[in-house]
Amino acid sequence: MSVLVIAEHDNAELKPATLSTVAAAAQLGDVDILVAGENCNAVANTAAKIAGVGRVLKADALALKTGLAENVAPLIVQLSSGYSHILAPATTNGKNIMPRVAALLDVAQISEITSVVSADTFVRPIYAGNAMATVQSDDAIKIITVRTTGFDTAPAEGGSATLEDVSNITDAALSSFAGQELTVSERPELTSAKVVISGGRGMQSGENFPMLEKIADKLGAAVGASRAAVDAGFVPNDYQVGQTGKVVAPDLYIAVGISGAIQHLAGMKDSKVIVAINKDEEAPIFQVADYGLVADLFEAVPDLSAELNK
């Protein structure tokens, strides 16, 4: 069986999400990688070095530069014959493009798999990870997105794939790229951060969030919030961790002044280590915390900041 992996990149660098996806794909068969972009030679060369990759297909055209689903999906469909599975990381790119591919092929998509059971059976979280579903697909070709936290990364070095150019690229002329505003924060992004510190209603005001930011900067962490803190207007909506916000699984999650509503727990309970700081010892957050501290956050957070300096 042959598996095609869609590379995640920005035309300059191959993103690590690709390596996790290759690791998932390697459990299914021989792995080829598609690098679709513009002026993406360097990415294709990096992809060719990933251990276990047979061929790198490079599709280089202006129409593919910004990853528009309307242009990338038909290209993947054109390349799909001969593959039993097509996998992409469950990044916003992968999530944007792959369902379009699946519909064009008239097959189901299996979203955000966290493990491979067999060639046609996969495990994926549902209800924001509050249940795990094992699903089997009857479709001739399996279109899959991969939750990268579920897999190790394939070794970035050691492979020597052959490079092939793909031609016949067309611009569907349905959409065009108009600009981007990438977050300039020194802090990492919530969904990919190794450490996340989040504040809840207990923070009392948005003016108190810089306390958390200080700690975030010391730990290289991202700052998040509970829905209660967002609804109270302390911080913007894109801080929200939870079932209706972002789902995170960092190595360390620090919940400050968060009671632990179900909808918040759904978004962070796969974190490796959870710390909870809350003055209410009955708060449900303590039931999922590895380390709990019953304390007034307005004392504990400055203390924590000082202690981390030592």
Binding site: A108, S111, A133, S175, V195, Y291, L293
Partner: protein, 249 residues
């Protein structure tokens, strides 16, 4: 301009879900059901387009069991004009929903379809993209801002690294992200008024659509439980544990 929004009846986001005893599904009997939160945002956006005079009619669509009428009724109480239900008791997959939507789109000819980016039950995040593919339309996923102009729509998208803006040729499919708007609550007078609005009911057979599932759910399980943690005395002990026991900082 006509706008179509799709709404799904799901387990309310505040409910702690339970897997049923034979591990085949999540228990939905006697559980509070509500409109998928991302779909509420879609309905709200449609209403705002109407209030701005951009949209002339707003149609709320759903696929699902008879009770999905309640979900459509909620959309009507918020401000949608009429509803369409494709009734079925089969648990529909996103591809099947997209096919039902396509059939309705071909009848109603909306210029814009707005759907939630994902449903909080199956977390698929597929329907909007699939519908756009089946119709050959442009797609603006994970939208946090829409600006409509003649024949095109500027969509600001929430992407992993920040925001991206795309220009879409109309007609288009847009899927909503959290920051697009804050959905309103239906007022009591509007809830009463919504009772008089029409909901047309059809079914997949009438539309000539095969909605049989492509995936078989073999098992549904609770995720591995977290081991009980420990309480620490103070910040000094906490930092010590994080450094030397958990080794995460």
């Amino acid at each position: 301009m006509k706008v179509l929004v799709a709404v799904k009846r799901v387990v309310d986001y505040n409910v702690k879900i339970r897997v049923n005893s034979n591990q085949t599904a999540v228990e939905t009997a006697n559980v509070k059901m509500s409109m998928n939160p991302f779909d509420e945002i879609a309905v709200e956006e449609g209403i705002r387009l109407k209030e701005a005079g951009t949209a002339s009619e707003l149609i709320a669509f759903s696929v699902g069991p008879k009770q999905s009428q309640e979900t459509i009724r909620t959309a009507l109480a918020m401000g949608a004009d009429r509803g369409i239900l494709v009734e079925t008791d089969i648990i529909v997959e996103p591809l099947a929903v997209a096919k039902c939507l396509k059939a309705i789109v071909e009848k109603e000819n909306p210029d814009l379809v707005i759907v939630g980016k994902q449903a909080i039950d199956d977390d698929s995040n597929q329907t909007g993209q699939m519908l756009a593919a089946l119709l050959g339309w442009s797609q603006g996923t994970f939208a946090s801002k829409l600006i409509l102009s003649d024949g095109s729509i500027k969509v600001t998208r929430e992407v992993d690294g920040g925001l991206e803006t795309v220009d879409l040729k109309m007609p288009a499919v847009v899927t909503t992200d959290l920051r697009l708007n804050e959905p309103r609550y239906a007022s009591l007078p509007n809830i009463m008024k919504a009772k008089k609005k029409t909901i047309d009911v059809t079914n997949p057979e009438e539309l000539g659509i095969d909605i049989s599932p492509r995936l078989t759910v073999l098992k549904v399980e609770e995720p591995a439980k977290r081991l009980a943690g420990v309480m620490v005395e103070d910040v000094v002990q906490l930092v010590d544990k994080l450094r030397n026991e958990a080794k995460v900082i």
